[in-house]
């Protein structure tokens, strides 16, 4: 079971409330799909500038494997206040710890609501139904 202290988007991002801010990353499933289980197949992660304002669902970056590129989309609207630039040099963090050290951006959300996003249990069902 995936962590239930956060919510999940159908595009395989997670968002976790942390005080007044929210932290966003991608799920183990997303990493697995991109790398086919080989973390050295991940080659680049393009993260945005601090200060950028994001609409809900907006693409904030891209992650690349040898074979493919995937958009990173924010499940919630807000202003980016911090990015995890250590990912860019250490992509393997995404494989080893996508839930904590593999976080991607921290935002100051426009709204506290996480309506419309899935619980860990629902995300599990979503994956089972789609694959």
């Amino acid at each position: 079971m995936r962590p239930d202290d956060r919510k999940y988007a159908p595009t395989h991002e997670w968002v976790k409330i942390d005080g007044d801010t929210m932290v966003i990353g991608i799920t183990d499933f997303a990493v697995q799909e991109l790398s086919n289980g080989n973390d050295s197949d991940l080659v680049y992660c393009d993260l945005p500038e601090v200060g950028r304002i994001l609409d809900k669902g907006e693409t904030f970056g891209e992650i690349e494997s040898v074979k493919a590129v995937s958009d990173l989309n924010t499940p919630v609207a807000g202003e980016i206040i911090e990015i995890n630039s250590s990912i860019e040099e250490h992509l393997e963090i995404l494989s080893t710890d996508p839930w904590n050290n593999g976080w991607m951006i921290r935002i100051k959300p426009t709204s506290k609501s996480l309506d419309g996003l899935m619980s860990a249990e629902d995300y599990e069902k979503h994956l089972a139904a789609a694959h």
Binding site: N36, N38, S40, V43, Y44, E64, V66, K67
Partner: protein, 364 residues
């Protein structure tokens, strides 16, 4: 989705299988770039069962192919193999293929995704020629053994054939693992190596015997992901990227595979390609880029504000240690050493133009 007789073998070996050209094929068994290095440094074994294998017989087999493909088939010596392109009247590509001359016929290997369309196109152009077209894809297996250790590995299992004496782009028949096998010194990697074709039900045994014979040489199974990087490093076209119905073989730089000789007679696409040859507008080149982003198909190239080309295929290249791509460039930008910029949604990354290939052990 179709499966080759090696499907279970791939699954047991930990292969990650994907759809490719209508077939369920291994894209990788481990990290893709490690598989690339394995082929460059040692040897790799590939399942090519998905590729279309077609045989042409009858008195007009050679003349028929000379009407359909760009190379001069009647001029290919028996036992030799040539690359060729199957074109439409407008000179753009329907497929690319290898043509093998036999004593009494012609054999061709075509792309999996185009096999049915190619067969329909060919059959519709037989006209009054006396030719029999036989699709041998389903009954046969095709493996590739590629890399510097290939000859050492294959010779352990081969008899009735002088492997060492088999030249590049030549084929012969020999006994491999006790089976009568069609052996060619060809590949899609820029490495020395062989391609083997034999009855498909024997593939699991032949695969296992090759893997065992190659264990001491570091032989590994290799998926389509690494195959794509290897062929791109070697500057070889992939249908759907460098060649397709919007691109012609002249501008793709495969002029060596096109014959305008009068003796070949007229062929489909000849007039259009002669016109392109007289006045080309773009050229296939390579780029290397020192930046972190991997060039991808459709990426645009700029010189200042002017768009001067686009990416066909891109990959991280372990052999050159940089990200590489094949690109179509307008002629005034297609100069080795030229500095251009690659656009990633508005972010620019520098790149340098170079001639293809990036690497080849067979084409020096």
């Amino acid at each position: 989705m179709k499966q080759t007789t090696l499907h279970e073998t791939h699954e047991r070996a930990g292969g990650k299988l994907i759809e490719f050209g209508g077939w369920h094929m291994p894209v990788q068994y481990g990290p893709i770039l490690d598989e690339v290095r394995c082929v460059r440094e040692r040897a790799g074994l590939f399942d090519l069962g998905h590729m279309g294998r077609v045989h042409f017989s009858g008195p007009d087999a050679v003349a028929f192919l000379d009407r359909l493909v760009t190379n001069y088939v009647a001029r290919i010596p028996v036992g030799a193999i040539r690359y060729a392109v199957l074109c439409r009247e407008d000179g753009n590509a329907l497929d690319d293929l290898l043509v093998y001359r036999e004593e009494d016929g012609v054999y061709a290997v075509i792309n999996a995704s185009n096999t049915q369309a190619d067969l329909e196109w060919m059959r519709s152009h037989v006209g009054d020629l006396d030719v029999v077209i036989e699709d041998r894809t389903e009954g046969t297996a095709m493996l590739a053994l590629q890399g510097p250790a290939s000859e050492t590995v294959l010779s352990k299992l081969t008899s009735d054939c002088d492997l060492a004496g088999l030249g590049y782009y030549r084929w012969t028949r020999g006994t491999v693992c006790g089976l009568d096998t069609h052996i060619s010194r060809t590949g899609y990697t820029g490495e020395d190596g062989f391609e083997l074709t034999f009855p498909c039900e024997e593939a699991p045994r032949v695969w296992a015997e090759l893997m065992e014979a190659g264990a001491s040489q570091g032989l590994q199974p290799i998926g389509l992901g690494a195959r794509d990087v290897l062929r791109l490093e070697a500057g070889m076209a992939l249908y759907g990227h460098e060649l397709d119905p919007d691109h012609n073989p002249v501008e793709a730089g495969v002029g060596f595979a096109i014959s305008f000789k009068e003796e070949k007679g007229d062929w489909i696409g000849r007039a259009a390609l002669a016109a392109v040859k007289a006045a080309p507008t773009k050229r296939l080149m390579g780029i290397t880029t020192p930046g972190p982003r991997v060039p991808r198909q459709g990426g645009k190239l700029f010189r200042g504000d002017a768009e001067v080309g686009y990416v066909c295929s891109g990959a991280p290249s372990p052999t050159t240690g940089t990200n590489i791509a094949s690109v179509y460039l307008q002629l005034d930008a297609a100069e080795a050493g030229a500095a251009l910029e690659l656009d990633f949604r508005g972010k620019r990354q520098p790149c340098t133009v170079q001639a293809l290939p990036f690497f080849s052990r067979t084409r020096k």
